[in-house]
Amino acid sequence: MTQPFLSINGIRKNYGNVTAVKNVSMDIAQGEFMTFLGPSGSGKSTTLYILAGFQDPSGGDILLNGQSLLSTPSHKRNIGMVFQRYTLFPHLTVGENVAFPLRIRRRPQAEIAERVKAALKLVRLEGFEDRMPALMSGGQQQRVALARALVYNPPVLLMDEPLSALDKKLREEIQFEIRRIHQETGVTILYVTHDQEEALRLSDRIAVFSQGEIDQIGTGPELYSNPATRFVAGFIGDSNFLDATVVTSNAGKAKLALGDGAVVEGVPLHGPSAASSRASLMLRPERLSLSRVSVPSGIAVTVRDITFLGNNVEVSTATPAGVDLAVRLPFGHEAISSLARGEQAWLTFDTASAHAFA
């Protein structure tokens, strides 16, 4: 087995009796774009800060090319980082900010000038050398920070919600730039965000954080089509949840009773399973279908509302027990014209696209 480029092994971090990070492990390949995605307080920043050397872990190890990083202080790790807050040195010009890491490394003047120019070109801020940071917009400042973090060719670049202070349009613009820079430089990036869309747009793989632990690591499509936990299912993409009871389970597939006599078979089941234990059935709105005529395996629902959303139509429905289920039908779907608010309909789905979580 080849040795992974960057390896996070069982990292833990306690603050007094608060556990910020429980047990985080992953291997990251060289040149990979890995995103830590999770809600606020789930331990993403803490993990990143341990990588940067700002915090010592309570346990575990971090290996870069097989060598532990933990005994190396921050300033010797040669890692790049872009922060959530604006961290340009306010007393230095843009050019001097980007030159800073090279000056610390005592590079010759000519080389510094050349590399600063190249780094600013990379972030499309050529000619801004003499500008003071305070006179630049937030997006420009973060791009300078990116240039400063890349100018010394670090093997790993850390980014802690670098775009969260920017408005949506600017955010998308810079996401695109980050993607381009990742492709051009081939630098390994560890990126933190709580925004699933951002994670899906940027990443090769996503690690979903929940309460200090990683629930699942995978590509966007993997997390979407095969979520390992109810949390991941709820965090990536849209989802409906229905209470169910396991009737039988066999080789990871379950037969579930949904109450009202409805039974579905062959649903992938995640988690410990025992007959008659409770489970939660996850259905993607865009994988559901509606029919006006009774279907034997269908779930009887009442149509609450129909909303036209351009390329698709969202139908809000409710089960007799009062659970809301959203259904997204492609525009032009045959059922749409026959549906009306307050009427009965039958909801059907491909059981392989559903997931049950025990």
Binding site: F54, H75, K76, R77, F89, F100, R148, A149
Partner: protein, 283 residues
Amino acid sequence: MAVTVVTGAVKTKRGATLGYLLPALLLIALFFIVPVLMLLMRSVLEPEVGLQNYKALLGSTTYLRVFLNTFLVAGVVTLVSIVVGYPVAWLLAIMPQKWSRIVLAIIILSMWTNLLARTYAWMVLLQRTGVINKTLMGLGLIDTPLALVNNLVGVTIGMTYIMLPFVILPLMGVIRTIDPAILRAAALCGAGKMQCFLRVLLPLSLPGIAAGALMVFVMSLGYFVTPALLGGTSNMMLAELVAQFVQSLVNWGMGGAAALVLLVVTLALYAVQLRYFNPARGT
């Protein structure tokens, strides 16, 4: 038409503001500006009309020595205050609020303690048979007592102690505004502790250093009690000279001239600070 109305309103408003300020302005004029003008008059009128007092003051090596010594003491006190005060301010800025409040309270309490009491306390501590000399001798670090009082050392120690809060408070204020994330960024850029300090922390705290230094320097220039009690006869300061002229020699002309020279230097320094380090204008 509208314009006239607006101008009228502004005029009335400005007039009203002036009206409110008038008592305060009169008070300042009566108790500060008038005495200074009187002193200025006496310095050019006594014993006869002319600049002879200023000539005598600036032409004599004895008096020039006093000027020089005044600047020396003020300079040394300022430097030592900054060097000692900076780490304290930094610690206060980064320590948890509940601790920094207590330390600040102690520092401010010391400012409220009587100046004479604090200076006499230093006299007792620093004298040949004082606690400091006794301790050092007891530890075998020195054989004969150090001359810590009645000289520049005594003045520097006593005045630095009094001036420290005036550098610690503005410095702490400025250091608190520096985002720790900026220092983290510097660290990841490769800057060790010393580089972080020299290239980032120090330049960013310059406005605080300037404000504290100016305050201490200006206050030190006119200091009287501490130099008189802890200093030797060979290093007299300007305020002592003024006191001597007025009290012992009853020479208001020379006393006024010396005081005005001090005032002019102080105002010049203040102008420099306003020009280059005024936080309101951004540095």
